[in-house]
């Protein structure tokens, strides 16, 4: 079994939605040095498969607060409980109605969840063809460092 898996979720062609992918990409060398397995995936629904076979999983994705009001670029961290991720994390812009939050909730409902740490970034713009918005681009280095820290903590436990 893998000890720590780090999953970056996103669409590389859709503005801030790429942020999860970009974060794990830039942290890949550090993460692999820690012995973590690094996976990039294009759709939240694949996360349900990526939660098995690991003791702990860090999921990095773009999010949107449930009723807005969170500044773009805000980094959100949450740990999954028996009911999955807390609702205030917001929708991880899930594809086809089944995203990271649903995947984690489903694994929790089946008593099949590893320890899951979710690191999200509030998005500004997810338009197809756009790059990262300035607000999100400016937190990318901090986000990547945060992901490495989370993976290090999970590796040590």
């Amino acid at each position: 079994m893998t000890r720590v898996r780090v999953v970056g979720v996103g669409n590389p062609e859709a503005g801030d939605d790429a942020v999860g992918l970009l974060a794990v990409r830039s942290a890949r060398a550090d993460l692999e040095a820690l012995g973590a397995e690094v996976v990039e995936t294009g759709a939240g629904l694949h996360v349900v498969d990526l939660l098995s076979g690991a003791a702990a999983v860090v999921v990095v994705d773009a999010v949107r607060a449930p009723r807005g009001g969170r500044a773009p670029g805000t980094i959100v961290r949450a740990e999954a409980g028996p009911e999955g991720l807390p609702a205030e994390v917001g929708s991880s812009l899930s594809s086809h109605g089944f995203g990271v939050a649903e995947a984690v909730g489903l694994a929790a409902a089946l008593d099949d969840a590893p320890r899951v740490v979710f690191v999200g970034v509030e998005v500004a713009d997810v338009t197809a063809g756009h790059g990262l918005s300035p607000a999100v681009a400016s937190v990318l280095p901090e986000l990547a460092a945060r992901v490495v820290t989370e993976a290090r903590l999970l590796s040590a436990t």
Binding site: S94, S95, G97, L106, A108, V126, G129
Partner: protein
Amino acid sequence: MTHRQVDVPVIARVEGEGALHITAKDGEILDLRLEIYEPPRYFEAFLQGRHFSEVPDIVPRICGICPVAYQMSAVHGLEELFGVQVSEGTHDLRRLLYCGEWIESHILHIFLLAVPDFLGMHSAIEMAKDHPELVKKVLDIKRIGNDIMEVVGGREIHPVSPRVGGFSRAARKRELDPLLPRLEWALEQMPGIADFVASLPSPSLPRDVELVSMVHPSEFPMNEGSMASTRGKRWEFSEYEAVTQELHVEHSNALHSLMTDTQTPYHTGPLARVNLNADLLTPVAKDCMARAGLTIPEGDPFFSMAARIAESTLAIEEAIRIIRGYVPPEPSMAEVVPRAGRAMWVTEAPRGSLYHRYDVAEDGTILEAKIVPPTSQNLRHMEEDLRMFLPGVLDRPDEELTRLCEMVVRNYDPCISCATHFLSLDLQRV
């Protein structure tokens, strides 16, 4: 007098953002608009000026759920234009890849999105608490579909090995063989799963419809064939833009499709495919379709879930057959020399017929691209379904009405399924 206005605004991922607005008065629908914003328009522009060899890497990014469909419509169309003949092994491997996508997409849709609706539950998470063994089982089946796509297409965000001319790297027999016992196990589960689906209480919407899909003389259509409708029409891929017509509608960024001759909407997708290709279903798929309660002909969109059961089973049976007889294509790529002209092709995405057209210059540069996805073809039909279905249920409480709207839209497994999942119902009474 009751005047209800139901607004279903939504936030969705890149597959599309959409909303459903309904205004009703005295049980009559005054206004109904399904709004959707789809990404292919951007990708059509993005493809202009690219070399044809880049197309298989660009188009799968349009949809996280059906990347294979986008690749397959593109590579087959370009190969036909360039006069490329691919080997039998390449044909098989592409069909296997598509089987993986059908298994994953259909099982996901049936159990994680549709069945909770039919059970009156809020989500698959709620369902997992009541039916944990079933949910574990279907997740294992879904994972087989995903693993087929990884072994054949490459372990990346999108499949990377499909090329115009074949595969950059063809899967080896020993990579595919470990999938066999898992597929055989999955096939054994399908009749019981079909029985479960048949046991679900379902609304009905009997209506006279025109169903459209590919047809093929000898195999259930995925990558090759021609077009047909249940009204007896037959046409080639090259006639697609003449036989069907895209209509710009003010309330939607997506275009709505109509049959050109009758100016009426049509329905593409699994229900259309099994209606037009019932004889080509594999043995267990036929049995599972009957168990799920679907008899052909059937136009009621609420039978789409039973059609997905039949097709998931078919995809499992076909994957088993292909892997057992698989001989890797050697070489894995045919030689490709571009030529100027127009490429037009359709393949069957999990959610329906996906048309691509490319105008190509002599050196292989894409001059213009056109993509007609199944969701936009079905949009007008979905609106009609809602108009017909809603008057009978308008007296239901808000929450139930919302759920019923979701179910009607979800029959089509649109790329806006997400759109109807995070509902925040805004109801106004005057």
